[in-house]
């Protein structure tokens, strides 16, 4: 994992000191709210429905056990004993006091974490594949490139006041586990026929009120020109992106309005110019970063044998454990989606337990997935049973990864000032309805995603089944979408028709799953069946 050097540490500590002064001036009345609001937002501090909310960046979703432990301690010391892992691989605390915020940032800085640029019209936390460095299908580990992006984008003066927020995702395999094409810029690291490493760039993706899948704007940019190309892409957006209408200000609107070919042409023109300026970080910097990601200490020659005589353990292994690139190891996904629970929430004790498990059994590493789960990326198969037992004890062993109860849900109207409807109670009702694990597994892979408003933090456009909460004359109402996906076969869901009440949408989902079971061919996932038979049979079942 990356370790801050003196420059990284000094920058973050200076920012903490600066914010401490800003908070003091706000509390003394020297700064008005209008003056202070943009300053707190640049440090991840929102004012939500019930209190201040602090969003802490987890760079490309990677955490050490020490960092994870501090996240748990903050939940205890400054919040109400829990945190919420988000779809952007971050963690949010819902009950922060303004007067505590500077000290929290100081605690975070001690373990090389911060909340910088987790809000505002700037480049947000770069996200990545939560299996990075452990998956067998990646061309390279994308995290050194993600770290380079973090360093480049942090406090980048030219891109501090973009037309709108800007999200970058980077992956290095054909299996897209990061919803890469639903970002403002998506980067896939690829290898060309000559064996050289480069970047395939996608631009203008996103969800929100105008969902779009990012088209490719460059098939192969040499890896050592990645920053220059990204600089060019941002510069064209910064120059032409709309600032008169926030709903038309994202890069996806620009790419759509001028056309992908014209946008790509302008980027190439700017790219050629930037290359003459020598802005690319020196190759030695990338090599310095890469050296910290080379080998977390994986042993060779370990056995792949696994005793699956305990049926509950076998079930969990089958559902929540993935193959690792190194024989004798496995990738464990800890579901934060128990039946009746709050998707993405974990108590301080659970967070610290996961930190301990990472320290003892995962070479000190954890990942936050965009699906609001936690990953232990490097677990010896010989340790799996012990890890599972500890998770069972802590209520963290729900064997439902990628099943219908592994729901992505935004905080919704229970916490969020922007929301129109509650997401969490609906998620709870759906998990109650489909609680039987046998029934879930019979349905197979079925990604259900709920957003409490059109901003789509719950990725509803990309759910095999998506739900969007809306305000209908003061009442919560839920639109149902089918057919979205966010992996290599990214697609956007289609609204089924008129919306439903909270109970009505749960019934509708059950009818949708019944249609799937009645029509599916051998080996078909829900998404496959939907794509084959189309919307009509589902609509007939729901509204007929």
């Amino acid at each position: 994992m990356y370790e801050y050097d003196q420059h990284d540490q000094a920058m973050v500590e200076a920012r903490v000191a600066e914010f401490r002064g800003q908070v003091a001036r706000r509390l003394s009345g020297e700064l008005t709210e209008d003056q202070f609001k943009p300053l707190r937002l640049k440090n991840g501090l929102y004012l939500q429905l019930h209190a201040y909310m602090l969003r802490v960046a987890v760079p490309y979703g990677t955490l050490s056990s020490a960092q994870m432990r501090v996240l748990g301690d903050i939940a205890d010391k400054y919040d109400r004993g829990y945190g919420h892992f988000t779809t952007r691989q971050n963690i949010q605390y819902n009950w922060i006091k303004l007067s505590d915020a500077p000290q929290i940032l100081e605690d975070l800085a001690k373990v090389q974490l911060h909340a910088i640029q987790t809000s505002g019209n700037c480049i947000r936390n770069t996200t990545s594949d939560h299996f990075a460095g452990a998956a067998a299908d990646e061309v390279v580990d994308p995290r050194p490139y993600a770290e380079l992006l973090r360093q480049w984008s942090t406090f980048h003066p030219e891109f501090d006041y973009l037309p709108r927020k800007f999200k970058v995702a980077i992956i290095a395999s054909d299996t897209d586990r990061a919803a890469m094409r639903l970002h403002d810029i998506g980067i896939q690291i690829v290898k060309n026929e000559a064996g050289e490493i480069g970047c395939k760039f996608f631009a203008g993706g996103g969800m929100g009120r105008t969902p779009m899948i990012a088209p490719c704007i460059a098939q192969f940019v040499p890896a050592l020109q990645m920053i220059s190309f990204l600089e060019a892409a941002l510069r064209v957006y910064n120059r032409h992106g709309r600032r008169d209408n926030k709903y038309k200000a994202r890069i996806k609107i620009l790419v759509h309005e001028i056309g992908v070919d014209e946008y790509a042409r302008q980027v190439q023109e700017e790219f050629a110019h930037i290359l003459t300026l020598g802005l690319e970080p020196p190759p030695a910097e990338l090599e310095r970063i890469k050296a910290m990601f080379v080998d977390p200490g994986l042993e060779s020659g370990l056995s792949d044998d696994l005793d699956l005589s305990d049926p509950d353990f076998a079930l969990w292994v089958d559902q929540n454990v993935h193959a690792h690139k190194q024989p004798g190891y496995a990738i464990v996904t800890i579901s934060l989606k128990p039946v009746g629970g709050i998707p993405g929430d974990a108590t301080a004790d659970q967070i610290r337990l996961m930190a301990d498990l990472a320290r003892d059994h995962s070479l000190d590493e954890l990942r936050v997935s965009h699906a609001q789960n936690i990953v232990l990326p490097h677990v010896k198969k010989a340790d799996l049973y012990r890890v599972w037992q500890a998770l069972v004890e802590a209520g963290l062993a729900t064997p439902n990864l990628d099943l219908i109860t592994d729901i992505i849900a935004c905080p919704g109207l229970d916490y969020c000032a922007l929301a129109n409807a509650r997401s969490i109670p609906l998620a709870q009702k759906i998990t109650d309805r489909f609680a039987d694990i046998g029934r879930q597994r019979e349905l197979g892979e079925l990604k259900l995603k709920i957003s409490g408003c059109i901003n789509a933090c719950g990725h509803h456009h990309a759910g095999h089944i998506g739900i969007l909460g809306v305000d209908r004359k003061g009442l919560e109402n839920y639109q149902l979408l089918l057919g979205g996906a966010e992996s290599a076969d990214t697609s956007l869901g289609t609204i089924t028709g008129p919306g439903f009440s909270e109970d009505g949408v749960v019934d509708a989902i059950e009818k949708v799953t019944d249609v799937y079971l009645a029509h599916r061919d051998e080996g078909e996932r829900f998404l496959d069946t939907y794509r084959r038979i189309g919307m009509a049979p589902f609509k007939e079942a729901i509204y007929g």
């Binding site: 706000r26 509390l27 009345g29 008005t32 709210e33 004012l47 939500q48 429905l49 019930h50 209190a51 201040y52 109400r80 819902n94 009950w95 922060i96 006091k97 303004l98 007067s99 709050i342 109207l413 229970d414 916490y415 000032a417 929301a419 509650r422 969490i424 109670p425 709870q428 003061g474 009442l475 919560e476």
Partner: protein
């Protein structure tokens, strides 16, 4: 919805972020202590903003139901109570039915 329609002032405590309601004399955590403001809301907000103790002050619609203040919009009712999915953290942790007031 029945009940007399009123307008009340709400905001967030600057230091803690807690939701607060204007009582006519100061600020309370409890919506039941809120009072209707007729035509003087703007003046109250201007005066209170100048003190810089409460932030994000604004006026919302509400009704008087059985003698108690009930915000008109669900978002404000959730603000008044707390998250419906964590009633243990709400202002009525001992009332398992508190969430029904929101709906």
């Amino acid at each position: 919805m029945s009940g007399d329609k009123i307008k009340v002032i709400t905001g967030s405590d600057l230091r803690s972020g807690d939701v607060v309601w204007w009582t006519g004399e100061g600020w309370s955590r409890h919506v039941d202590n809120a009072v209707g403001v007729e035509h003087d809301a703007e003046a109250i907000i201007a005066r209170e903003n100048a003190k810089q103790v409460v932030t994000d002050t604004h006026v919302i619609d509400a009704t008087i139901e059985a003698g108690a203040v009930r915000p008109a919009h669900i978002k404000d009712r959730i603000r008044a109570l707390g998250p419906t999915v964590r009633l243990d953290l709400s202002l009525k942790p001992a009332d398992p039915q508190a969430g029904t007031w929101v709906i």
